[in-house]
């Protein structure tokens, strides 16, 4: 399962759990009632635990995720011998897309925009979104990728750029050997 599949499953589980919780709490209104001060005493005690669990989960999630942040990857020694491609995004095409990219090779796309903001998003042969970066006029953004699967990849613009936004794209092939 890819990252976004995992995210969707996680979200679905959380959503169903929340619905279940709300249904269970609502059903208690059909049973014996309690005074608010009785509810509050236990409720506030339980809330301390909920606060601790939530805070710990969020802090741990943040710390665990930091190594997976995409920033500064081009400076890593693993990408010293990366192949660089200059990509210029303009309404409504990507200039500089190579027709073929070697498999299992670090690639750095240096992405620029010639006119308005665009998004440079790469989809693998299974149509899964595997990486993206913004293309902003006057600024350079980098997308560092290593393609491990051969096949036809597509590129789409993911930042609204005008009435041709949905038509803006391109493709390249990942194959064995150098281009």
């Amino acid at each position: 399962m890819n990252t976004q599949g995992l995210v969707l499953v996680t979200f679905a589980i959380i959503a169903m759990a929340i619905v279940a919780l709300f249904v269970v709490v609502a059903l208690t209104s059909r049973g014996p009632t309690q005074r608010l001060d009785e509810v509050s005493t236990k409720g506030y005690a339980l809330r301390r635990w909920w606060f601790a669990i939530l805070s710990t989960t969020l802090i741990l999630a943040f710390l665990i995720m930091i190594p997976f942040y995409p920033y500064g990857r081009s400076k890593s020694s693993a990408n010293e011998n990366a192949i660089h491609y200059n990509i210029i995004a303009r309404q409504y095409l990507f200039e500089g897309l190579p027709p073929q990219i070697p498999v299992d090779t670090p690639i750095i796309f240096e992405v620029y925009a010639a006119d308005v903001n665009h998004g440079f998003a790469i989809y693998n042969p299974d149509n899964q979104l595997i990486g993206q970066v913004q293309a902003m006029p006057s600024y350079r953004n980098e997308l560092v990728m290593t393609f491990t699967e051969v096949g036809q990849y597509s590129v789409r613009c993911l930042e609204f750029c005008g009435i041709g936004h949905h038509l803006m794209g391109g493709s390249f092939t990942v194959g064995e050997g150098n281009d």
Binding site: Q4, T10, E142, R156, L158, L167
Partner: protein, 499 residues
């Protein structure tokens, strides 16, 4: 301020039809010119935010006025400015086909436009006029809350938190819960207005003289500071309805204690600083702000889930709840907020954002908030008013009909967004790659069911308001039902005035 809420809900309904038009276009059921599609997209985005904002503004104004006198003329001025701004936005999008999206991200409105030059100015000035109306409202609310409390320090509950013993010993009463969203949103609202006016003026200058360029990352930061904040204010304002409404349905008080106050202080900061999560994939953004985006986004979840929604669940737990359409909407709105929040937190996590940014996951989570929480809170309040007017509530059969149509339709509609997003279907695409078209069809069915449910709400709400008998649809729905509508429920007589 019935005018605010009625206008907001009416415009919201019309704009939902615009939204449905977009979804059925994406489903391939109809075909539109791209110029028209993207101008409708722009109108829908700007209009939905403003229409629900109006509901929140009206609600807060009404609730604060119950505590302290306010000059209604200022409320009318604010309303008038917002209506004028909306008219300019409608002119720009419907007549001029301005289609740069409601985020008007520089330099798109100006570059190679397929819309006339006047429409750019009409849209931008319209947004600024709306912001001016918002500022008038914010200033009035801020002044009123301070007058009610005695000082800004008291309005923010400072002594409750830091001098609790002296506060209690002096016999001072905490502020009513609904005053906290009022003070926090009015303070934050003016900060947002300042940012919005700066980017607005800069864009107008560029519109007048294109030789004066703006820095693109500076412009994007201000645009999203403005846009993210104003959209988020909606839910925090409409929450005030729940602070007042849910206690009426449960006969339990919503406690304003030190924890509650500190939670709102947190919200006051986080709602303005979480906007950095819109910039994750702009690598020119300073790195510290990228980290801050995830940190503040995560932190914003804590006051909501630990204090507000948890407090709401405590009000319901083992209480004698008067279940009605109003209370069900308020209760469901809290669930919708947490679910939407889960979707938001996942997207606000940088490594996940790489895969979700600008896919349909993004409108998924904010439609979850705006439909599945904000709209429900507003409807909950409207039904509370209608129910208490003649001490009626809808029959169980009517409640089920509304629940199935509105909640089921919402769930189907949102599923289309979330699954599409996970499948990488981009947002703001008139023609979507697979599997977008099929999922858009599913979402369209959901939207149609939801809109049908809202029409049933309109019918039932009007019936309750007019204290009408069980004829027509209500009679069909209640046929054979033992618990017909119209029975008094034994709850204390409402002292709420009809707005």
């Amino acid at each position: 301020m019935a005018v605010y809420i009625a206008t907001g809900l009416s415009v919201a309904f019309l704009l939902m039809l615009v939204g449905l038009t977009m979804r059925i276009t994406q489903a391939g059921w109809i075909s539109l010119d791209p110029e028209i599609f993207y101008s409708l997209l722009t109108l829908h985005g700007a209009g939905m935010v403003v229409s629900l904002l109006l509901c929140g503004m009206g609600g807060i104004w009404y609730l604060v006025r119950r505590e302290v006198d306010m000059d209604i003329r200022l409320a009318w001025w604010a309303f008038g400015l917002i209506v004028a701004g909306v008219a300019m936005v409608i002119a720009a999008t419907v007549v001029g086909k301005f289609g740069a999206a409601w985020t008007f991200l520089y330099p798109l409105p100006f570059y190679n436009p397929t819309w006339p030059n006047w429409s750019i100015g009409s849209f931008l000035i319209g947004i600024m006029v709306i912001t001016a109306g918002w500022t008038v409202w914010s200033l009035q609310i801020l002044k009123a809350v301070i007058r009610r409390s005695g000082s800004l320090r008291d309005a923010l509950g400072w002594d409750m938190v830091f001098h609790a013993k002296q506060f209690k010993a002096a016999g001072r009463e905490p502020l009513p819960a609904q005053m906290l969203p009022a003070i926090v949103i009015s303070v934050d609202g003016m900060v947002m207005s300042a940012g919005g006016m700066v980017i607005g003026v800069a864009l107008i200058v560029h519109w007048i003289n294109p030789a004066i360029p703006l820095d693109t990352i500076w412009a994007k930061n201000l645009t999203y500071f403005f846009g993210h904040s104003i959209a988020n204010f909606i839910i925090y304002m409409l929450l005030a309805f729940v602070y007042v409404g849910l206690p009426r349905y449960t006969n339990r008080k919503w406690n304003t204690n030190a924890v509650f106050v500190v939670a709102w202080w947190g919200t006051m900061i986080f709602v303005l600083t979480a906007y950095f999560h819109h910039m994750y994939l702009d690598y020119a953004q300073p790195l510290i702000l990228q980290y801050s985006g995830q940190v503040f986004s995560y932190m914003s979840a804590v006051p909501v889930s630990v204090v507000t929604v948890y407090g709401g669940l405590m009000l319901i737990w083992r209480a004698k709840v008067r279940w009605s359409v109003g209370s069900i909407f308020m209760y469901a709105g809290m669930a919708g907020w947490i679910i939407g929040g889960a979707g938001a937190l996942l997207d606000a996590s940088v490594p996940f954002n790489v895969h979700l940014h600008n896919t349909l996951w993004v409108p998924g989570h904010f439609h979850n908030y705006l439909l599945g929480s904000c709209l429900y809170f507003a409807l909950g309040w409207v039904f509370l008013q209608a129910e208490e007017r003649h001490h009626q509530r809808s029959s169980p059969a009517m409640r089920w009909l509304i629940g199935v149509m509105v909640f089921g339709g919402t769930a189907l509609f949102l599923t289309g967004f979330y699954v599409s997003g996970a499948e990488g279907v981009p947002r703001r695409y008139m023609v979507q790659p697979d599997p977008g078209q099929g999922l858009s069809a599913l979402a369209s069915v959901g939207a149609i069911v939801l809109l049908g449910g809202l029409l049933v709400c309109l019918y039932e709400g009007a019936r309750l308001w007019r204290n009408q008998s069980q004829d027509g649809l209500a009679g069909l729905v209640n046929a054979g039902s033992a618990d017909g509508a119209g029975s008094a429920n034994g709850s204390p007589v409402s002292t709420l005035e009809a707005p």
